[in-house]
Each structure stands twice: as structure tokens, then as C-alpha cells.
Symmetry: C2
Subunit: 162 residues, 2 copies
């Protein structure tokens, strides 16, 4: 049995106690941008219930064009107003450089990615970079509450970056 099959069996259990449907727009008018890291259970970390917040995640929790697209749709079409950014300690993005990663792909496949890998060497600085990218975008209209945090994978706490 694959892991996917095992998780589908879990889903059958989940559905047994599920009550829906909830409304489409997030009830708390919040969008979260977080790293894809397996240790960040965003609903648990923030005490979110189903239907309350958009959750956008990628390698690093960085803001690239696709996060701007998602935030634009979140705010313009579905009414979110606050943005929460979450990076975390012990992040994989601290362990390599863009150049090394892209050269290793080129060695293995013959093709060098045209995109940035978005590795970083300073967590707080990269949270600030993500905030700056949102502030600099004309496509995200509501910028009154954009706050950035580093999740501590040892303690479960969010520490705000200022």
C-alpha cells in the first residue's frame, strides 16, 4: 500500500465526522503565507478552524509571482484583509545556495532552471524581504496588516520579525 492510499483511508475517517459546506470566503478575512515544511501544521499553529483563512504555502514561505497571484485573488475576490507570513527555524532553504542547487539540476538533467530557487541565509531578513515584495506589488490592494513571524520548530511558538 502506498502512503497515498494510507492517507486516503484517513480521509474516509475524516469525512465521517465532517459537516459542510461552509461559505467560500474566509470567515476571518486572513491569508497566511507559510513554508511548506512538514512540521508547520498551520491550522494547529494558529488555532484556525475550517473555513477561516486562506493558506498559501511553498518552499521557504517566500513571496514570488505565484504568491502575489494568490494574494491578489484572496483580497480582490474573496475579501481577505490581513496577511500573516511564516518562516521557521531549521529551514531547508538555509542549507543550500541557488547556484549550487541549479548547477546540480543542470548536471543531472542537462537543463538549468530559469527560475530562482529562493534559498536564503538569514530568516528574519527573508521575512522582511517577503513583506517588501508584497508592499511593492500593485496587485495586492490591502496592506494595513502584513506581519511576519519565525515559527520555532523546537517550541511551537511564533516569534514576530520587526
Amino acid at each position: 500500500m502506498s502512503v497515498t492510499d494510507e492517507l486516503l483511508a484517513n480521509n474516509a475517517n475524516y469525512a465521517q465526522s465532517f459537516t459542510g459546506p461552509l461559505p467560500l470566503p474566509p470567515a476571518k478575512h486572513v491569508a497566511v503565507v507559510a513554508c511548506m515544511d512538514a512540521r508547520i501544521n498551520v491550522y494547529g499553529v494558529l488555532g484556525l478552524g475550517e473555513g477561516e483563512a486562506h493558506v498559501i504555502r511553498n518552499a521557504g514561505g517566500v513571496v514570488t509571482e505565484d504568491e502575489i497571484r494568490s494574494l491578489a485573488i484572496s483580497q480582490r475576490l474573496l475579501g481577505t484583509k490581513e496577511i500573516i507570513l511564516i518562516h521557521h527555524t531549521d529551514c531547508g532553504m538555509l542549507t543550500f545556495t541557488d547556484d549550487d542547487f541549479k548547477h546540480s539540476i543542470q548536471r543531472d538533467t542537462g537543463v538549468k532552471p530559469a527560475w530562482a530557487a529562493e534559498a536564503f541565509s538569514d530568516l528574519d531578513e527573508d521575512v522582511r524581504q517577503s513583506i517588501a515584495r508584497i508592499r511593492n506589488s500593485p496587485f495586492v490592494p490591502v496592506k494595513d496588516s502584513i506581519r511576519g513571524f519565525v515559527f520555532d520548530v523546537a517550541t511551537g511558538k511564533l516569534n514576530e520579525v520587526v
Copy 2:
């Protein structure tokens, strides 16, 4: 008190019973790509525990360059091998067209996004499109288990797209 402050108070509760740190690589060697929709609690839907799977999310759960970047990092650096794609019923991406959305941004800001909004009109077809984009990428090395589902927001069930 902002919603962000309220969620930070929730985090203080979460941290009280938190035990960490767990290892960085996902224990179940799975990466999930899901829509950012507030009603999809990925850890709940799949019965995942902290530390088990990478979770990548955006508007639609579509595969763009940034999801390829995240999947490349997930597989090449952190050892994931299976990919689970999750779209869902009642998706916001079914309610507009790229042209209308981009023109509305252009009207409001004077700037037309250079990116695609990635709206779609058929859920199953867009899941297949996302799978096709992964299969077509040289940067995602492991393609043995790529399965796509539509989450039913009324029942909580994942239905596989074939």
C-alpha cells in the same frame, strides 16, 4: 484586537502542549499540492501529523513555476517521492476568467499583470492539467506516484480524478 493578534493568542496555547523538534525531512515522503481554500484543512483531510508531509498551496492548487520549484526542492533535497494534488468543489477559480480578472486590476491600478490568473472552468480537467505540468517538467525527478483528487466541501471526501 486584530485577527492576527487573536491567532497569536491561539499560538500561545498551541505551544504549551507542543513537543519538538521533529526531523526536517517529511517522515511519509509525500508532498501535497492543494488549493489555498480556507475549508481545506490539509492535515485534517489526510490525517497527517506534524512532520509527515510537505504542503504546498496556492489559489486553485494549480501547478505553476513556483510549485515546480517547491517540488524540486522537496524531492531533490528532502526525499519526498509521492505527490498528491487537491482541487475542490465550489472553488473560487471557477467563478471568473483570466481576462476579466486582469482587466479589473488594470482598471483599478493602471497595471495589467504579466502573469496568468490560472482560472479554470472544469475541475477534473484542471487536475489533469496540473499532473501534465509536473510530468512535463525535467526538474521533478520522481513521477511514479502523482495522483489528483477533488475535495468535496460538502462531504469532506477526496474523489480521485482519473
